[in-house]
């Protein structure tokens, strides 16, 4: 391989991160965690991060001071949602986060009804 090729390879390789995602997941399957969490499950942290935690766990606890959906956590951490669910399952098992399933659409009253109630209340 010529020196020029070498350089292009090196430049090309300068991006990225030494860690691979499976190490962050520590080899656990995202399938098991998937049953508890989906993209719109709301996460609220219930404890402060401790220094001995995996950094991703600590980061989740930090940003979930107010409720965030799994999708949002995934976007903020720049990690795929399936991986985030694995991490969340850890925290959930340790009872460090509160998991709130989104209210199903069917259980919500119709929007027009709610608006009517609001209007009525405000007119009081």
């Amino acid at each position: 391989m010529s020196a020029a090729d070498q350089d292009t390879v090196d430049q090309d390789w300068d991006e990225g991160n030494p860690e691979r995602l499976y190490v962050i997941a520590r080899g656990r399957s995202p399938l098991a965690a998937h049953t508890t969490f989906d993209l719109v499950t709301l996460i609220i942290s219930r404890s402060q991060p401790t220094p001995t935690m995996q950094p991703e766990h600590a980061a989740i606890l930090r940003i979930c001071g107010s409720p965030l959906s799994v999708a949002e956590v995934s976007a903020y951490l720049r990690l795929p949602a399936s991986l985030v669910t694995v991490l969340l399952a850890d925290l959930h098992a340790e009872k460090r986060i509160e998991v709130r399933a989104p209210i199903p659409k069917a259980a919500l009253p119709a929007r027009s009804l709610l608006e009517a109630v609001i209007h009525g209340l405000q007119r009081l």
């Binding site: 300068d14 990225g16 001071g65 409720p67 965030l68 903020y76």
Partner: protein, 519 residues
């Protein structure tokens, strides 16, 4: 002739005897002849006898002188020959003990055979020109043979490195692709899991290619310009071994490794971790820790496997130290030897200190010390999952304050620095709402990067609440996809008649909303 070993005195006597014998014989013959002859002829005979005796003496002396001269010449010649022989012997010894090793050493250092030969031509020629020529011929023959051998070895090595480089390039491309796929299929756990497995296998192939490249004298695969946090480096090492789940990574101090040393360190750690996991029972854990020491950072890898005997340990350490010799093709077959040779090479090139000691767990405790000059305490600019990634974002903190290393480096649209107070994030969305007169309907997109294809937005409920002091805004809640829970919380706020326009009210509602949502 003289007998050897006779004393000088007896030699002189013998010489005199030898000299005088012909003269004496002549004289005796003369006397006999004279006594036998008649008185008339006696005088003549006596004269003849005298002359004969004198002639014999003279002749004897002359010959003796000639013999002495010849003998002296012989002695000189013999001396000369002996001296030459000694010089040739010395020359041979010098050739064998000094010249050849030195010439080969110079050749191995990279000198050309001709240069080496000319350097050895200037030595003295006292042993004879022929001998000198022969000596040079021997040198030339050996050097050429060695040079050929070296050339072949080098070309083999180059070929290996070349192939390794190409494999590395493919592996890297595949790793990038896999990461992109992992992001793309992140929401499908089954596909994601398979991708992780492929990714892992890919990393193992990459490590093997890296090892061959290192043994071939090249650098390990990639180069990192920015410093990388030590934690990421350790996990990077873990990610390249088969049994990474058995490695227990303990918390490490908050330092970073300078860019050029990142890849070698990752690779050396991967090899040591691989050895540790390979030679310990599958159910045991391997502990990976890093502590700060006076000379730098000591990274310890401890396994609970078989203890390395003193002999085995000595052999392993010798292997670490002898790794500079280059790529031995025999090594490629044996994994542990390959691994330790790689570690030894990297340690030599980058100044790591590696030692193998018996572990308190019964196995081996490998300690790798990273020297101080390869460590930086400055916040690493290299992106680490969870930590650096957050730091490099322009997003204001949605919840509590960011870690101290992150800091508010770049301000987002809401430029207020984030105090650490819990409710402090409430005013931020309002500031955004003011700067964007589109009202609560406009989704305040703060982070522009959406690597996962996921919406990068701030929570929507807060602006609608905080920026809704008028009825019109209450009557027109955000028609955008609002999270149901938040929407309900806002509704409760409206119902309870809270004044959501104030910051304290906003903070209060955030305390309330979970409770309401649970009802």
């Amino acid at each position: 002739m003289l007998r050897a070993g006779s004393s000088p005195g007896s030699r002189l006597a013998t010489a005199v005897l030898v000299c005088l014998t012909p003269a004496v014989v002549m004289a005796a013959t003369g006397v006999l002849a004279a006594s036998a002859a008649s008185p008339g002829t006696r005088t003549g005979i006596v004269w003849c006898g005298l002359v004969g005796a004198a002639g014999a003496v003279v002749e004897t002396l002359r010959r003796r002188h000639a013999v002495a001269v010849v003998r002296e010449q012989c002695a000189r010649q013999e001396q000369e020959l002996l001296r030459r022989l000694a010089r040739q012997e010395a020359g041979m010894v010098e050739l064998a003990r000094v010249a050849l090793p030195e010439a080969i050493a110079r050749l191995q250092r990279g000198d050309f055979p001709d240069d080496v030969l000319t350097a050895f031509e200037t030595t003295d020629t006292v042993a004879g020109p022929e001998f000198h020529q022969a000596r040079l011929a021997v040198l030339r023959a050996v050097l050429e043979a060695v040079d050929n051998e070296e050339g072949m070895r080098e070309s083999a090595q180059r070929a290996f490195v070349n192939i390794a480089r190409r494999v590395q390039a493919i592996v890297h491309r595949q790793a990038v692709d896999l990461r992109a796929m992992e992001d793309r299929h992140g929401t499908d756990p089954a596909v994601f899991e398979d991708l992780l497995r492929l990714d892992h296998g890919n990393a193992l192939v990459g490590r093997l290619a890296d090892s061959i490249a290192v043994l071939g004298g090249a650098r390990p695969g990639r180069q990192w310009n920015a410093a990388v946090p030590l934690y990421s480096v350790l996990r990077g090492g873990m990610s390249r071994i088969l049994d990474y789940t058995r490695v227990e990574l303990h918390p490490v101090s908050d330092v970073a490794i300078v860019g050029p040393a990142v890849e070698p360190l990752i690779h050396a750690l991967a090899e040591l971790l691989d050895n540790a996991t390979r030679y310990s029972p599958p159910q045991t854990r391997v502990h990976l820790t890093a502590v700060e020491v006076q000379t730098g950072i000591a990274i310890e890898i401890e396994d609970g496997g078989l203890s390395l005997g003193e002999e085995g340990r000595a052999r392993a350490e010798r292997m670490l130290h002898e790794a500079q010799a280059g790529l031995d093709l025999n090594d490629l077959g044996e994994t542990p030897r390959l691994g330790l040779a790689v570690v030894g090479r990297l340690a030599h090139a980058y100044g790591f200190q590696v030692s193998l000691r018996p572990s308190a767990y019964g196995g081996v405790r490998a300690v790798l010390i990273v020297p101080q000059h390869l460590i930086t305490t400055a916040p690493a600019t290299g992106r680490a999952h969870g930590l650096g990634g957050m730091a490099s974002e322009s997003r204001p903190a949605p919840g509590t304050a960011m870690p101290s290393t992150a800091g508010p480096r770049r301000q987002g649209p809401a430029t207020a620095p984030v105090p650490a107070a819990r409710s402090s994030h409430r005013p931020l969305p309002r500031a955004t709402a003011e700067s964007e007169p589109a009202g609560p309907d406009a989704v305040p997109v703060v982070g522009d990067r959406t690597p996962n294809g996921l919406p990068q937005r701030r929570r929507h409920a807060a602006p609608s609440r905080a920026g809704a002091p008028t009825r019109a805004q209450v009557r027109e809640p955000a028609p955008e996809p609002v999270q149901p829970g938040m929407w309900l919380a806002a509704f409760h706020d409206g119902v309870n008649g809270r004044a959501p326009s104030t910051a304290t009210g906003g903070g209060h509602t955030s305390e309330e909303s979970p409770g309401k949502g649970e009802q």
